[in-house]
């Protein structure tokens, strides 16, 4: 079972305690966006075999949204961090680079 550490309350939460919220770091588009940009925002998703960034909610706990960096091939968790982040923090990126040198995901690497 997937276990993620909630960065707010510090609890190691089983996946039954959490709700998955899909891809993280999506750039949201609104009125005036081009068709391409809006389609990308609405439908196109990163679907990597490997490093992935996701939104999760500690639904049956403190209720807070947070971000997780995870491997979709091994279910290894590289770390979790606050939802109020525009990009993965340096220590999370370093933790990923230590285990998956040369990784890239969307606009991050």
């Amino acid at each position: 079972m997937l276990i993620l550490t909630c960065p707010y309350c510090g609890i190691d939460a089983d996946e039954t305690e959490l709700a998955a919220g899909g891809q993280a770091h999506i750039k949201r588009e609104t009125v005036g966006a081009s068709d391409d940009d809006f389609e990308t925002y609405m439908f196109m998703r990163e679907n990597p075999k490997g490093v992935h960034f996701e939104r999760w909610r500690h639904a049956n706990g403190c209720g807070k949204w947070f971000h997780a960096a995870r491997c979709t091939m091994t279910l290894e968790v590289f770390g979790t961090y606050e939802a109020q982040s525009y990009e993965p923090p340096a220590e999370i990126r370093a933790a990923i680079s230590a285990k998956r040198p040369g990784w890239s995901w969307g606009r991050f690497s």
């Binding site: 079972m1 996946e15 068709d35 609405m42 196109m44 679907n47 996701e54 995870r70 979709t72 279910l75």
Partner: protein, 414 residues
């Protein structure tokens, strides 16, 4: 190809079964083909078969990274039905169901199609109304289904407890001509027929790149060298995003794990397929006597082919209220498959931004039942550039807001 028949069995029995041929050849790749299909699962092989049978394109290779039918074709719960709400879905799934009826004769290969009937249980008032609506839609589409009451459900499936306190059975959507088939045999039968038409099935050959020139596809790079082609069909389910990236476009798809499990074999007790969408479980009994149970998908992206254990618990916990007699059964095997899910839970059979490159993916959790219909339509799309069966399933429907919204219509099990 020597035909399989009762006479052939007698003939081979008389000579110690030494005359059976290999069902399909394993040739070396040629430098160039008229068409290449990537992915030798059910959908890929069916596409190749109908390209040959309906359009005479037999200078064709089917390229497979692993082995034939080794992905989701061999990992599903083999349910065949066509009781969909939306017209484009009903059309392609009904085409598939009707092709399954004659597939064994057509391929000269016993795919063990068993039209035993599929019953989708209504266990809430919302489901009752939803399935009544689907029954009316199916009547307009020419798909034979009917909404039946709880007493009829009990007659059709006596082992069911229709008075469960939490999940009472309030009726069901009954498709008498739905059923199951032997999933491996579908892949093997198509492969044998394709090989017989002179097509090359290249197993253990991984595609590592798509070569293009002036916005047109010119071939693929593989682990066994470069192979040229005029037309390319990508039919690789969970790995579609990966191939699309090689071809230079993106897909609105995410891959998740879907699980199934089978019990120890027991005496025949249930001769239909039951789907219970409220609790998200489905149940049928295999010819060996095992109860085949399908469960839910994980909620997060995943390529592990395992799935989370708590989904099994949820599925089984709910099913044993409706089927009390299975509560003591031991489970023998559990496995997961990687399913490619689109935003509207309907597949993509489409041209792509790369000319002469076509994609067939996004079948999500319900691809097996569609195999012949998908192959039929996708072959027409590849050969002629358009097909009435696939017209609504284009990649541009997301941008244009023309969803085929089965995620709402079909509930969850799909």
């Amino acid at each position: 190809m020597k035909r399989y028949s009762a006479f052939a069995i007698a003939r081979e029995a008389a000579r110690y079964h030494q005359g059976w041929e290999r069902a399909w050849a394993s040739p070396e790749p040629k430098a160039r083909y008229d068409a290449i299909i990537v992915g030798a699962g059910g959908h890929g092989l069916a596409t190749a078969y109908y390209l040959g049978k309906n359009f005479g394109i037999t200078n064709l290779a089917v390229i497979e990274k692993g082995w034939l039918g080794g992905g989701n074709t061999g990992r599903n719960t083999t349910i065949i039905r066509s009781n969909y709400l939306q017209d484009p879905s009903a059309a392609i799934y009904e085409k598939a169901r009707s092709l399954y009826e004659t597939m064994s004769q057509d391929l000269n290969y016993n795919v063990m199609f068993s039209p035993r009937g599929v019953l989708m249980l209504a266990q809430t008032h919302h489901e009752v109304r939803g399935y009544q609506r689907t029954a009316y839609a199916n009547a307009l589409q020419g798909v034979k289904t009917e909404f039946i009451g709880p007493q009829r459900v009990k007659e059709i499936c006596p082992i069911m407890n229709i008075e469960g306190p939490r999940y009472p059975v309030m009726g069901g959507l009954w498709q008498a001509r739905g059923g199951t088939a032997r999933h491996d045999a579908v892949a093997w039968g198509y492969a044998r027929a394709c090989s017989d038409m002179g097509m090359d099935i290249l197993q253990k050959t991984e595609v590592t790149g798509v070569t293009r020139e002036d916005g047109k596809v010119t071939g693929v790079e593989t682990s066994r060298g470069a192979i040229g082609c005029d037309k390319l069909g990508i039919v690789v389910a969970g790995h579609s995003g990966h191939l699309a990236e090689m071809a230079g476009f993106r897909l609105p798809i995410e891959s998740v794990a879907l699980q199934a499990l089978v019990s120890e074999p027991i005496k025949p007790c249930m001769d239909i397929v039951v789907m219970a969408n409220t609790v998200h479980g489905y149940l049928s009994q295999s010819d060996k006597g095992e109860m085949v149970i399908g469960g839910g998908t994980d909620s997060y992206n995943n390529y592990t082919q395992r799935g989370s254990f708590h989904h099994i618990e949820e599925t089984v916990r709910a099913l044993i209220e409706t089927f009390p007699m299975i509560s003591r059964l031991k489970m023998l095997r559990q496995w997961g498959g990687i399913v490619d899910v689109t935003g509207d839970r309907s597949p993509i059979l489409s041209k792509t931004p790369l000319e002469n490159c076509f994609i067939n993916c996004g079948w999500g959790t319900g691809g097996f039942k569609a195999i012949p219909g998908s192959g039929w339509g996708f072959a027409e799309l590849m050969a002629k550039g358009s097909s009435p069966l696939t017209a609504e399933f284009g990649l541009d429907r997301f941008r244009e807001g023309r969803f085929i919204d089965e995620s709402v219509a079909a509930g969850v099990a799909h």
